[in-house]
């Protein structure tokens, strides 16, 4: 189930600012309370897919006392895509919630 939402999760992880692959995985784990414990490598196909779609941009950077890293940033198109996916998810989760015992009817 997570696989279908991985692109949106990666976009959301980059909302706070540019980050490299390892930091993105760490953000996903910590923000989900370790619920999203997916194989770390699966984030890279998603990053490349999102970059091809124009939702992310990336550059190589070398910190003063560290190794060279490819850092990804959200583009304007990516921010718009994230907002759209958030909206769609909100509607979808409300609808599922009303079926699976949330007690609310949908649409509200």
């Amino acid at each position: 189930m997570l696989k279908g939402h991985l692109d949106a999760i990666v976009l959301a992880a980059l909302e706070a600012g540019p980050a490299h692959g390892y930091a993105i995985i760490e953000t996903i784990k910590s923000r989900s309370g370790n619920t999203f414990d997916l194989p770390e490598g699966t984030v890279y196909p998603a990053l490349h897919r999102l970059e091809h779609a124009g939702f992310l941009s990336s550059t190589w950077t070398t910190p003063a006392n560290g190794r060279r890293r490819r850092v990804y940033s959200l583009t304007k198109t990516g921010s718009a895509a994230l907002a759209a996916r958030r909206k769609a998810w909100s509607r979808f989760s409300q609808a599922v919630d009303s079926f699976l015992g949330g007690g609310r009817t949908w649409p509200a």
Partner: protein
């Protein structure tokens, strides 16, 4: 002796051999990632820390298969666009030849092959686009049909013997360039489809 991370990165590079640029870029990124992960392991420095980092990263074949599958969609789109461009240029070239050149007396079969092959290409192309977009066979049939139509068109108009005007020669050159590009794209797509099937099969 190479470490666990070096072995993993080398295996990933081999599995991404269908796209050398991607392989180069990704293996650098993955190596950085694995080193960060290993260094944050309580057992660092040790091969056990590297082994755990690699284990958390996932099977290299699964990652390579995902990249191959993503790349296929882009490659399919490019191939069909090239086919469309070839069909349009071939159609324009056919019309120009009819306007400016006489049918040569080389072969009575040539006009028939020219028309029929082109119609077959249009039919297979339309059906393929709507129903079998990833079909290597549909694209290969279109390529064969276009090659037959273009070849027959050249014979039909006795193109090189008649001293054709510049627009006719230019469109003929365009046809040849596009048919070459289309062949290149279709062969590349065939290889990619085969490679992806192998990676997916083994990764399962």
């Amino acid at each position: 002796m190479a470490g666990v991370i070096e072995d993993y990165v080398a295996a990933l590079r081999r599995q991404l051999d269908f796209d050398p640029t991607l392989a180069q870029r990704l293996t650098s990124e993955v190596e950085d990632h694995l080193r960060d992960a290993a260094e944050s392991d309580p057992a660092w420095p040790s091969s056990e820390a590297e082994r755990r980092a690699v284990q958390r990263f996932g099977l290299s074949r699964q990652i390579a298969a995902q990249f191959a599958a993503d790349a296929i969609d882009r490659q399919v789109r490019r191939t069909w666009l090239t086919l469309l461009a070839t069909v349009i240029v071939t159609f324009i070239a056919m019309r120009l030849r009819v306007i400016w050149l006489d049918d040569g007396a080389v072969s009575a079969l040539a006009p028939l092959i020219d028309r029929c092959a082109f119609i077959v290409v249009i039919a297979v192309g339309v059906i393929g686009w709507f129903s079998f977009r990833r079909s290597f066979l549909a694209l290969a049939l279109c390529l064969a049909g276009l090659a037959a139509s273009i070849g027959a068109g050249f014979v039909r108009a006795d193109l090189f013997a008649q001293g054709a005007p510049l627009p006719v020669l230019l469109t003929a050159a365009g046809e040849m360039v596009l048919i070459g590009l289309l062949s290149f794209r279709i062969v590349g797509l065939g290889r990619r489809l085969k490679r992806t099937a192998v990676l997916r099969g083994v990764a399962r």
